[in-house]
């Protein structure tokens, strides 16, 4: 009796909880799906709206573009690796309750994020140039723009690597670490055999959080190389921003699709590594 009543109520009543999704659905449709469809449309049409693959040919026939895409990939990967290598020990220290009472240190590390991104980057550029000029007699951003770009990206995206790792390390089971040492693991083995495997979800979050934005950012590359070195973000910005020809935004669309595919592959790749971590995911994802 009760059950049937309940069921009736369920079917007849307006689903309030479900309706709470509506604003989000509208938002997604307007600002995520529609632009994606537009990019797809542009990527496969010419200036007159006729279906064509010429845009793709234009992009991939230019060795210059290949070089930019390749360099973007190299820069993003190196930034991600360097960020994680730096963030791991920092996160370990931050998660130590004795050293980081009341999590004040975490805020200190996140504080740079409160300053405007562009100002921060320009500031860093002057600092780096000033330092190399006084020490070696040249400006890093002029002589070694790629290194300068990586330094800029590491600086800007380090907090995004620290946070998920820090969150994961807070959740580390002290007992398991003690158990490892009890079973005969010396401090180094404890790290390799327990702490690192247990923080893999955090490492993956950190990797995603740094890899994705570095792939698409262009301000840092722009500022840190004095606008001399292009990465894929700059390229897209150039095509969309300047509109040299009728089809420049069509070509820009192709490039952003390429970027999307690379990011998509990287996420699939990370998921494969993390196939075991479904339930105990840490970090931000």
């Amino acid at each position: 009796m009760e059950a049937t009543l309940k069921q009736k109520r369920k079917t007849s009543r307006f689903n309030f909880r479900g309706s709470l999704c509506m604003p989000y659905a509208v938002f997604m449709a307007l600002f995520v799906i529609a632009p994606l469809l537009l990019i797809l449309y542009y990527a496969f049409t010419d200036a007159n709206g006729v279906f064509t693959l010429d845009n793709w040919q234009t992009v991939f026939s230019s060795p210059e573009n290949w070089k930019v895409i390749g360099m973007t990939f190299v820069i993003s990967i190196s930034t991600t690796i360097i960020c994680i290598l730096i963030a791991f020990p920092i996160a370990k220290i931050l998660s130590n309750k004795k050293l980081n009472k009341n999590a004040v240190l975490v805020y200190i590390f996140l504080l740079p994020m409160w300053i405007n991104f562009v100002i921060r980057t320009i500031g860093l550029k002057s600092l780096v140039d000033g330092a190399t000029e006084s020490m070696f007699g040249y400006k890093l951003t002029v002589n070694y723009p790629y290194i300068a770009i990586i330094i800029g990206m590491v600086y800007d995206y380090l907090p995004f690597a620290i946070l998920p790792l820090y969150n994961q390390m807070l959740k580390l089971d002290k007992n398991q670490i003690e158990a490892a040492s009890d079973l005969g693991a010396n401090p180094f083995q404890v790290y390799v055999k327990t702490i690192i495997p247990m923080t893999i979800p955090g490492i993956i979050s950190a990797a995603t959080m740094t890899f994705m934005p570095t792939m698409s950012s262009y301000v840092i590359a722009n500022k840190m190389s004095n606008n001399t070195t292009l990465i894929i973000g700059n390229l897209i910005q150039n095509y969309f921003g300047t509109r040299v020809t009728d089809i420049s935004n069509h070509i820009g669309s192709v490039l952003s699709l390429v970027m999307l595919i690379i990011i998509g592959f990287s996420i699939v790749f990370e998921k494969l590594i993390d196939k075991k971590g479904d339930e105990k995911k840490g970090g931000i994802w």
Partner: protein, 553 residues
């Protein structure tokens, strides 16, 4: 002496542990025999887990030494100790499957083995000798001598060839277990814990009891000399716990290594152990076999903690009698030589040792105020005057009727009272008050000095009118139990502390309050409080007794 030491696998000598100002373990002395099942038993916060962690190496003792097979291991890190732990919350590695969890220690372990190598030193020695003989050969012309040397050289050359062919020099090397050995050992460990064939399963697919077994397997697979178990059954339900208790006991018999077990469950301790160490407040209270601890508790705390007990304050009377519950009771004569007549003692009687009888047929009469059926027996609460007596009996009696109680003399346990009064070191302040336990109290100082009095300026003078200098003079302060009371209004007194222990004495609770400065106050109160409650200790100044230190004119 040497042989005697060999019996002990682990020895703790005067081990103390402090966290900041907090003394967690104090003067811990324990000798554990090889193959023994020993249990640390005590309420939470008594220091039992800390002691275990010091044996495991997770904590280092503040002072004292821990010897393993006679060797000092006090400061050795955990991974260098041949000791393994079963953790309270299992602490299995979530990122590894069962096989890899159990094999974790085996894969890290390096085992010594002997290999025979060519004895290069001996060969070099021989070569050296041959060279010398050859030199000799060149310098001698005597044929006899020459042929003699020649045979010698040939012998030596043969020896070298022999040495090279058959390596015989033993050398100790270290290797890891082979994969096959590890598989074999893991399979055996799983067999011991009754989980054969579980190798490939994931930790998250196991029930609590199974995880517990894996944790045990992971520890015993390393063949430790000592297995430490930190409340390993705490997270299991009652039925599971009972089963595991018996299985652990069985396992201990089978493997034959030393078990050191920590629990706050007295029944668990009595069931499993060869030896029980009862701890409270960082101190060992009693070490003994389970039966010994149950039958002959050394003090009221042990009696109260192990099993159910009636505890009363009694007075020793002449003729081997004790007075408590307002009556004289016959005691066991062997107990009495330790005590003086009129000494206040704690009397402990187990509920099952009281014998119920018809009114006026026993030592004391009382009224049954409650009756609970417990399966095997009835549990009655009998009111004798103001005191309560818990009695267990198989016969069924009605509530409200008057009965008599008696006890076999050998079942009356008499023990020295740990606290008879409170004693403190105090001193006299500038304004003639007594300060102790960081608080000031009014006291007539003139009582301390014969013939002294306060003059019109409120200055203490002797009979000749000369001022007596008393500021900062040290005094002994005694505060009897009756002078103390506690209140949950923390502003009621300057002295605030936490209730450390509470033992029911039939009519009242004996409560121990400890302040943040580690001063203890013992008092008796009629009402029930909770352990760890924060209370104010109110001191009745009129009942304080003060004497001058060392001065007995």
């Amino acid at each position: 002496m040497e042989d005697k030491n060999k019996d002990y696998i682990i020895e703790l000598k005067d081990v103390c542990k402090q966290f900041g100002d907090n003394h967690v373990v104090e003067h811990f002395n324990l000798y554990v025999k090889r193959g023994e099942f020993i249990t640390f038993l005590g309420p939470s916060g008594c220091g039992k887990t800390t002691t275990l962690r010091m044996i495991a190496g997770f904590e280092l003792p503040t002072s004292g030494t821990i010897l393993l097979n006679g060797k000092d291991i006090s400061l050795l890190p955990p991974y260098k100790r041949p000791i393994n732990t079963v953790f309270q919350r299992y602490a299995l590695f979530a990122h590894l499957n069962i096989y890899n969890n159990i094999a974790f220690g085996l894969k890290l372990k390096k085992i010594p083995y002997e290999v025979k190598v060519v004895d290069k030193e001996r060969i070099n020695e021989l070569k050296e000798e041959i060279k010398m003989l050859r030199d000799e050969l060149n310098n001698t012309s005597c044929t006899d001598q020459r042929s003699e040397i020649d045979t010698k050289i040939v012998d030596m050359q043969n020896e070298i060839i022999e040495l090279k062919k058959n390596p015989s020099f033993p050398v100790t090397k270290f290797r890891h277990f082979t994969k096959k050995e590890i598989q074999e050992k893991v399979r055996n460990a799983l067999k011991v814990v009754d989980l054969e064939g579980f190798e490939k399963r994931d930790i998250s697919t196991l029930s609590g009891g199974q995880q517990q077994r894996i944790a045990i397997a992971r520890a015993i697979v390393n063949e430790p000399e000592i297995l430490l178990l930190d409340e390993p059954l705490g997270a299991l339900d009652l039925k599971m716990r009972k089963e595991m208790q018996l299985e652990l006991k069985e396992m201990h018999k089978k493997i034959g290594i030393t078990f050191i077990y920590v629990t706050h469950d007295q029944e668990e301790a009595l069931t499993m152990s060869d030896t029980i160490v009862v701890m409270n407040d960082g101190f060992i209270q009693q070490i003994g076999k389970p039966k010994q601890i149950y039958d002959e508790p050394v003090n009221a705390f042990v009696a109260d903690f192990i099993g159910e007990s009636n505890i009363y304050t009694g007075t020793i009377a002449p003729n081997n009698q004790i007075r408590f519950l307002n009556k004289y009771w016959d005691g066991d004569p062997v107990d009495f030589p330790k005590f003086q007549v009129n000494e206040k003692v704690d009397v402990v009687i187990r509920p099952e040792d009281f014998i119920l009888g018809l009114k006026d047929k026993g030592t004391v009469n009382g009224v049954i105020s409650s009756k609970i059926f417990k399966g095997m027996h009835y549990e009655y609460i009998v009111n004798v005057l103001k005191a309560e007596v818990v009695v267990q009996s198989t016969s069924e009696l009605e509530e409200g009727i008057e009965v008599s109680l008696r006890v076999d003399p050998t079942n009356i346990q008499i023990m020295k009272k740990p606290y008879v009064s409170n004693f403190y070191d105090g001193y006299i302040t500038k304004d003639y008050k007594i300060e102790f336990a960081n608080a000031e109290f009014n006291f007539d100082i003139s009582l301390l000095f014969a013939g002294s009095k306060f003059n019109e300026d409120e200055v203490l003078v002797d009979e000749n009118g000369n001022e007596i200098e008393v500021t900062d003079m040290e005094v002994n302060v005694e505060v009897p139990f009756e002078a103390l009371n506690i209140s949950d209004d923390l502003d009621a007194s300057e002295i605030n502390g936490n209730i450390i222990s509470m033992i029911y004495h039939g009519e009242y609770y004996e409560i121990l309050v400890r302040t943040d400065e580690e001063e203890d106050f013992v008092l008796n109160v009629p009402d029930l409080w909770n352990e760890n409650d924060r209370v104010a200790v109110i001191v009745d100044e009129t009942k304080i007794k003060v004497t001058r230190k060392g001065a007995k004119k």
